[in-house]
Symmetry: D2
Subunit: 466 residues, 4 copies
C-alpha cells in the first residue's frame, strides 16, 4: 500500500520514450506504457499497488504501445482520446477524472500532434484541488514541442490546434505546474528537446525556444517550416496502436544461439543478418551482406531498413547486446528475431567463413584529399538540419541516411566512397548499406563532423531550404 504518492518515470532508452506510473494507496495508473510492460507491474507490486488504469496520451506512431499487453497482465482498463476510432479501450472527454488515493487525474483534450491527443492533469487533493503537474504526451516537450506533420493535408490546422492546446489549455494551468512529457531528447517525435527530464510549465513558457513564437501565426509558420523525417515503420505502429492488434508477448523473446554453420544456413534461407555491435567492432570485422546497425541506432533507424516479413539473426558481442537488440526491436514491433551467432563474431572467423572490414579515414586525411582534388565520393548522411547548423565539408554529396536506399543509384559504383556523418556511427550504417548493394570500395570517416570541428577543418555553409 503506497503511503506516499508514487510517480515514477520509466524511460525507454533510444526511443527516448517516457512513460509514467502514478499511484497512491492500492491503485495505480500507467501513462503510455511500452510493450515490455513487466517494469510497471514490478513497480506497482513493490509498492503494494494494483494497476487499474492505462492512459494513452495519443495513438503513438513511433513504438508499439503496451496497453493491451499490460491489460492482459493486470486487468486494467485502457483509456484514450475520443477523437480517434480505436478498436480497443474507452474514449475520454475533456474533464473526465479518475481517483487513485489522494491523486486525481483529469483529462484535457489537447489536439495538435494528433487530433485525439490528450493531456492529463495531476492533482494532489490532500494539498489542493488545483493542478500540481501535467502529462502532455507529444504536445509539449522539455525544450521543444511535438511534431505536427503527421497529417500532411491538415498540417496548418494541426499546427494551429497545437498552438491553442499549449497556449490556451496547458500553459494557463500555471507556471508552478510540473511538466511530464512523452519523450526526451533523441526521439523521432520532435527535435530540440533538452537533455533533462525535469521542468515546469513556467520554465518552458520562459525558456523553451519553440514557445517564444507567442503569436499564433508565427508559431504555425515555424511548425510548417519543419521537415521531420518519417520512417516507414510508422505505418505499422499506427496500425498496431489504433487496432490494438500487436501480438502480446508474455515474455521478452529469447532468441536461440546458432552455430556459425546454422547461422549461415539460415541466412541462405532468407534470414537478415543484423549486426548490432559497436561501430568499431563492425569496422574491424563483419559478415558480408549483413546490415550494420549498432544497438543504439536501432530505435531511430531500424524502422528505415528492417522488414516485418523477414527473420532476423543477430551478430552481437555478449548476451547483453543480444538482449538489448531484442528489446529495441520488439518495441518497434520486430518480433522475428530467430537467433544470434553463438560465440559472437569470433566463432564466424574461426569457422573459416569470409568476413569483411571497413577502413577508417581520419578527417585530416579527408581534408588533404579534398585539397588535392582526389577522385572519391564523400557521402554525408546527416539530416538536413544538421548540415544547416554545422555546415559541411567541401564537395560532399548529401543524402540523408534514411533516404539512402531510395537514392542509391545516384552514387557512382566504381569510385571510392567515404561515408560521413556526425560522429562516424551513422556513416558506418551507410557504408554497410553500400556494401550490401554492391559497392566495392567503401570507407567510413570515424570522428566525422565532430572531429572536423575539433580539428578545425574548413567547412562550407549550407543554405536553409526556403
Amino acid at each position: 500500500m503506497a503511503d506516499y504518492i508514487v510517480l515514477e518515470l520509466i524511460k525507454s532508452e533510444g526511443l527516448a520514450h517516457l512513460s509514467y506510473l502514478v499511484g497512491n494507496g492500492t491503485q495505480a495508473a500507467v501513462i503510455d506504457p511500452r510493450r515490455d510492460c513487466e517494469t510497471y507491474i514490478s513497480i506497482a507490486q513493490s509498492q503494494g499497488m494494483q494497476i487499474t488504469h492505462i492512459f494513452e496520451t495519443h495513438r503513438n506512431e513511433d513504438y508499439v504501445v503496451g496497453s493491451v499487453a499490460l491489460q492482459q497482465r493486470t486487468g486494467a482498463k485502457i483509456y484514450h482520446g475520443k477523437a480517434l476510432d480505436f478498436s480497443y479501450g474507452n474514449p475520454l472527454s475533456e474533464g473526465d477524472s479518475f481517483e487513485f488515493g489522494s491523486v486525481i487525474l483529469k483529462v484535457l483534450e489537447t489536439p495538435g500532434h494528433t487530433p485525439e491527443s490528450i493531456s492529463l492533469v495531476l492533482i494532489d487533493k490532500s494539498a489542493s484541488d488545483n493542478p500540481l503537474a501535467v502529462f502532455t504526451g507529444d504536445l509539449l516537450f522539455i525544450g521543444a514541442v511535438g511534431r505536427t506533420d503527421l497529417f500532411p493535408e491538415r498540417a496548418r490546422e494541426m499546427a494551429g490546434l497545437q498552438y491553442d492546446s499549449i497556449f490556451s489549455k496547458v500553459l494557463p494551468l500555471g507556471d508552478h505546474v510540473l511538466l511530464y512529457p512523452g519523450h526526451g531528447a533523441g526521439s523521432v517525435c520532435g527535435s530540440g528537446m533538452a537533455k533533462r527530464e525535469f521542468s515546469t510549465l513556467g520554465y518552458e513558457r520562459l525558456y523553451n525556444q519553440a514557445l517564444q513564437k507567442k503569436d499564433r501565426n508565427s508559431f504555425i509558420e515555424m511548425k510548417l517550416a519543419e521537415k521531420p523525417h518519417r520512417p516507414p515503420y510508422f505505418r505499422k505502429m499506427e496500425e498496431y496502436n489504433q487496432q490494438g492488434n500487436a501480438p502480446v508477448l508474455p515474455q521478452l523473446p529469447t532468441p536461440s544461439p546458432m552455430s556459425a554453420e546454422q547461422f549461415k544456413a539460415a541466412r541462405a534461407n532468407g534470414m537478415l543478418v543484423l549486426d548490432v555491435r559497436s561501430t568499431e567492432a563492425i569496422a574491424g570485422a563483419f559478415i558480408p551482406d549483413s546490415l550494420a546497425l549498432p544497438n543504439d541506432l536501432i530505435p531511430a533507424y531500424g524502422g528505415y531498413f528492417l522488414s516485418y516479413d523477414r527473420d532476423i539473426g543477430l551478430v552481437a558481442e555478449g548476451q547483453q547486446q543480444v538482449e538489448t537488440a531484442v528489446l529495441h526491436l520488439m518495441r518497434l514491433g520486430y518480433d522475428r528475431v530467430k537467433g544470434f551467432l553463438a560465440g559472437g563474431m569470433r566463432s564466424w572467423e574461426t569457422s573459416g567463413e569470409q568476413y569483411d572490414q571497413i577502413p577508417a579515414v581520419h578527417v585530416d586525411k579527408l581534408v588533404e584529399r579534398i585539397r588535392a582534388g582526389a577522385d572519391f565520393i564523400l557521402l554525408d548522411v546527416r539530416k538536413e538540419e544538421e548540415l544547416e547548423k554545422s555546415g559541411k565539408l567541401p564537395g560532399a554529396l548529401h543524402i540523408f541516411l534514411g533516404d539512402l536506399l531510395e537514392h542509391i543509384d545516384e552514387i557512382p559504383k566504381d569510385k571510392t566512397i567515404t561515408t560521413f556523418c556526425g560522429s562516424g556511427q551513422r556513416a558506418l550504417v551507410a557504408a554497410s548499406l553500400l556494401k550490401q548493394n554492391g559497392f566495392k570500395t567503401v570507407e567510413d570517416s570515424l570522428g566525422a563532423m565532430e572531429a572536423c570541428q575539433a580539428a578545425g577543418c574548413p567547412l562550407e555553409k549550407v543554405e536553409t531550404a526556403p
Copy 2:
C-alpha cells in the same frame, strides 16, 4: 555458448525439490523442471545455450511439474519413462541416449518409487565413455531412498523393484559416480535424507542407512514397515503430471492488494484467509477463522488443508512474504490467490475489525501442569516416527497434524487445549484449525519438544507400532 559443461542444481525450498540444468555448447537439458520455469531459461540464456530437451525422472506426485510450461517457452521436447501412459511427451527406453556438446545423457529404467521411474546417466565424452554422474529422481536420495508406498496394492513389488534398480543398476555404475537425486531433506517423498546436496554412489553405498540392508528381503521388509503420510493433494498432482493439463502460467501470479474492507467482503464471499506470517506474528494477532500456515510450512502441509476450489486471500508481512506464498502455492497447483491484505495485519487492526491471539505456554509450565494433574488436553501433532524417536510428554494426546481434521471430534471442545509439536510451529497450525472449528481455549507450546529436550522435561517412550 557454454565452453564448460554446465551443471546447475535448482532447488525449490520447502519442497526440497531438486531439478537440474545440464548443457554444453549451445544446447541444454532440464531434468524435472518446476512450474515456475523462468529460472532455467535465464540460466541457459546467460550461458548462450538453448533448452532443447526436458526429462522427467517419473510422474512427480508432490508438485506440479513444469515440463509443459517450459516446452511452451522454449520449444524443447519432453521425455519420460515409457511404463506410464502420459498424455504428453515422448517415451524413453533403457539405453536411449542424447548428446549436448560433450555431454551424453543415457537412460536407465529404474522402477521402484513408481513403475515408470528412470535414471539418467551423465557421460563426459571428452574424458571417457564411462559414467561420471547419475540423476536418480526419487529412487535414491542422499542418505535415504525414495518411498515405495504410492501403489499400496503393489507395495511389496515396488519395494523389490526399487532394490533391484538400486543394487543392480545404479550402484554398479561405480563408487566414483556423482549422485544427483530429485529431492533433499524435508521432502514428503522420503525421510531421513541428509542435509547436504553432494554425494557419490560410493559414499551412499557405504553410509546411506537405507542401503545397509543389503539383502533383498530385509530391504523389502524395511520399506514395508514405513508408513509415510500421503497428503490429499497428491491426487491432483498425479492427474496434472500424467495429463500435462496444469494451466500454464506465463508469469508468476501477482495477487492484488485488498483493503481491510475488501478483504472482509471477499471473505464473506467464500475466500479462505490464509495467514502465512511467522508463528510468533500469528500468535500475536490474527484474523478470526483464518488458516494459519507460516510460509515454510506450505510445501509440506498446504496440501492437507487447502482446496483447489476456493479463492485464497493472504495475510503476510511485506511483499516478499506474499511472493513466497504465491510461489509455494502455485508449485502445489493452488492458483486461486485472489489478493492479499494491503498494509498487512496492522491495517486489519486499525480498521476496527476483531482479531484473536494464541497464548503461548512454556514447557516448564506444561510439566508443572502435568505434575499437578491439571485438567487440560496436551495435543501432540507430530508424526508417529517423531514420537517413536524422541518420546512424548506424559498424558499427551497424539493426532498427526495432517489427520487432525478427520479426528477433530475426538477432542473435547470444552477443555483448554494446548497444542504441541517439534518446535511449536505445527502446533500453531493445529491451534488455528481448532479455533476455526469452534474450540474456545487453545494455547500453543512454543519451543515444544526441542525445548523439552533442552530443558530436560520428563518424557515417556513411545512403542513402535508393530
Copy 3:
C-alpha cells in the same frame, strides 16, 4: 559520460531523509549524503561520472552525514555554509558557484533552521542562466517548513531568519522553480510534510499551509508555538556532523549470528537485546527484558532509548530484517551491533529459555472497560499534537513515548496498564519499556486510535496548550 543531466533523489526510508546526486558530463555533486554512501558511487559510476563535490545544506542533527565517508571513497571536496565552524570541509558564501557540464549550482545563504543553512540553486545553462530548481535542505519542505527551535535561546531570531530566507530569497526565484528539500513526511526535522516528493516553489507558495502566514510576525508566532520533540541522540549527531569525526565504515557492518546460548551469555555481559520484529511478532513472543523497537520505528525512536556505549544484539525475522536494522542504526551512529540471534526467536524458544507475550486488547473492550469504570491504566503515548488533533479516550493518562522513562514513576506499578497510541505500534514499545521496568501486567491495544476512529469510540477533546 552523462549526456543527459542526471538528478537522482536518494531517500533514506524512516528518516525520510532526501539526498541528491546531480551531474552532467563526467562530474557529479552529492547534496547531503548519508553515511552508507555506496549508493552515490554506484549511480555516478553507472553514468560514467565522478563525484567531485559534496554539499551539506546545514549541520544535520538527525542523522550522521556521510560527507567524510564519501570523500574518502571519491576524493571529492566538501562544502558547507560559512556561518558555523566545521572541523572539516570548505566554507561557502552567497553567490559561490560550481559547474558540472551544463549544470551550475549556486549558493544562497538561507539561515533559519540553523544559522549556517544554505540553499543551492540549480541552473541548466544550456537552456537559460536563470534558476530551474532549488535544493533547500531543512528550510522549506513540501507542505511544511523546517523547525526553528534547535537554538532555544535564539528561537525568535531563527524563526525570523527563516521567514526572510523563504520569503525574500527562495520564493522570489520564481513560481516555476522545482523544489528539492532535505526531508519528506515522517522526518523528525519538521511536521506536516506532504507524502509526495515533487513540488515547485509556486505550488508551495500557494498551498503550503506554513507559507500562508504571509506576515513576518504571524509566521514567527506560528513557529514559536510549535513544540517539536528533540531526541537525546541529536547531541551526538551535532557533534559528529560538526567535527566530522563519525567513524568511517568502509562497508556496512555485518553482525555475527549468535546461538541462543551465546546470545544469553552476551546479554549477561551487558549487551542490549533489541527486538526489531513486527509488533505482532513481538507481542506473540519476545525475550524478557529486551527492548521492542520494530524496524520502522528505529529512525524516529531509536535515538530516545539506545545508548552509544552499549553492545546491541538483534532479534529479527530473517536476514533482511537484520540488515535493515543495521542500516537504520548506523545512520543514527549506533555502530555497536554485536550480533543477532541465529535462527530467530524460534531458536530461543526451542532452547528452553523463557519468553514473554503482550496480550492485545481490542478498542471495543477498552470502551467497555471505561464504561464499566474498570480499574486499569490506559496509557496513551502519542505526541501532544496528535491528541490535540484527534482527541483521546476518556480517562487516558498521557505520557509521550519519548518521555516515558523520565515519567515512569508516575505510573502505578500494581495495576494493569494498557498502552495506546495511533495504531498500537508505539504502544508496544511503551509496553516493552514498562515490562523492562518491572511492570507485571501490561497490555497493548492493537489498532488503537485508528481503530477507535473506525469503530466510532467516544472520544474526548484535548485542549491546545496555551
Copy 4:
C-alpha cells in the same frame, strides 16, 4: 543459520581460480579466497553464517590471495601449510582438524606443486567419520595435475613429492570421494584441465590422463618434460602471498572517467593506455601506442606486459568492460588504474585525435600468399604445445606471445608482419606490441589456426622438443 551443509564454489573467470566456502550452522570457512572477497561475506551472511576460518592450500603464485583482506572484514583466522615461512596466519600440520557444525575439515600435507601445499579432507560427521570430499589446491585438478616447475632446482624432487601426495595420500581416500581443486581449465597453474567443475577421486584415478603414469619414475619424467610458461608477475604474487602485504582494498577501485583531452594529457605523463575491448573493436580503431589486451586475455597475459610501477588508463566499451578490467587487474595486483576514456573510443575519434586500425587477413589469403611465395612474415605466437598439437602454416615464424618483447629484434621491421595464433585474439595482442615497437605494416589473421582447420589449410607438423 545454515541448516544444510553449504558448499559453494566461487570461480574467478579468466584465472579459472576456484575458491570454496564451506559451512554449517553458524560458522563457515573459506578456502583460497580471492582478493575481492565481498562475495564470500555475502554468501555467508545470506545463510546466517560467520566466516571464522580461512585456509590457503598453498602460497598461490598466479593471483593475489584475499586472506588478509577477508580477515580484516570478518576477524577470521588464517591457516596454511607449515612448510613455508609465511609472515601472517597460522601453520597447519597433518591431521589438524576443524569443525563447522556437522562439517569437519582435516589437514593432509600434500607437497608437490609447492612444498607447503596442503589438502583439506571434508567429513560430514552426521553421516560418517570417513572422507566425503577433498580440496586439493593445485595438487590435483580435474583432468590434470598441478605444475611442479616452480622451484627449478628442485624440479625432480617436487615431481616425486607430487606423485607421493596424489598416489599415497589423496587417491587412497577412496574412489567415492568428491574432488574440489584450486583451478579449472584455462589456468596458468596447469594444462589439460577438463572443462568441467565436478569430479571424484575415482573418476580421476580412472580417466585423468596425468594419473595414467602409475609408475613413480614415469610420472616424474612426464612432469620434467613439461615446460610451462612463467609470467614475470608471479614474482610479485609470491611476495604478496608470502608476506601478506598486498594492499587491502576496502572496495573495488572505481577509476575516474577522463575526457579525451585528460586522457591524452595523462598518457603524455606516462600513463599506459590499455585497450580491453574485443579483438574486432580494437582492430576497427585504437589509440596509437596503446596496449591491446581484450578483457578475457588479461588474466593469462596481463602479467607479461603490465608494470606495477605505471598508471593505467583504460579504453573500454561501456561501464561493464571497465569494471571487468579493474577486477581482472586487481586480482593480479595491478591497482594503479587511474581512469578510463569517458565515452569510449568514439570520444577519442570525435575529439579529432589520431587513431589506427589493424587489417585482418583471412586464412585463404594467407595460404595464397604462402603458395605464391609472397614476401611477408607470418608470426605465430601460440604456445609450443599448441604447435606440437596442431601443426603450423608453412614458413611461419614462431615466437610465444609471452616472449615476444624479448625476441622482438628477431623480426624484420621493414616487412609486412601478419600475426597468427589460435583464433586471432592473441595475434591482435602481438600486432599491438609490434605497432608499439615501431613496426609499420602489421596485420592480424582473424580466425587463425581454427579457421585453418575448418578450411583445411595445408599444415606442417611440428616436432616435439626433446
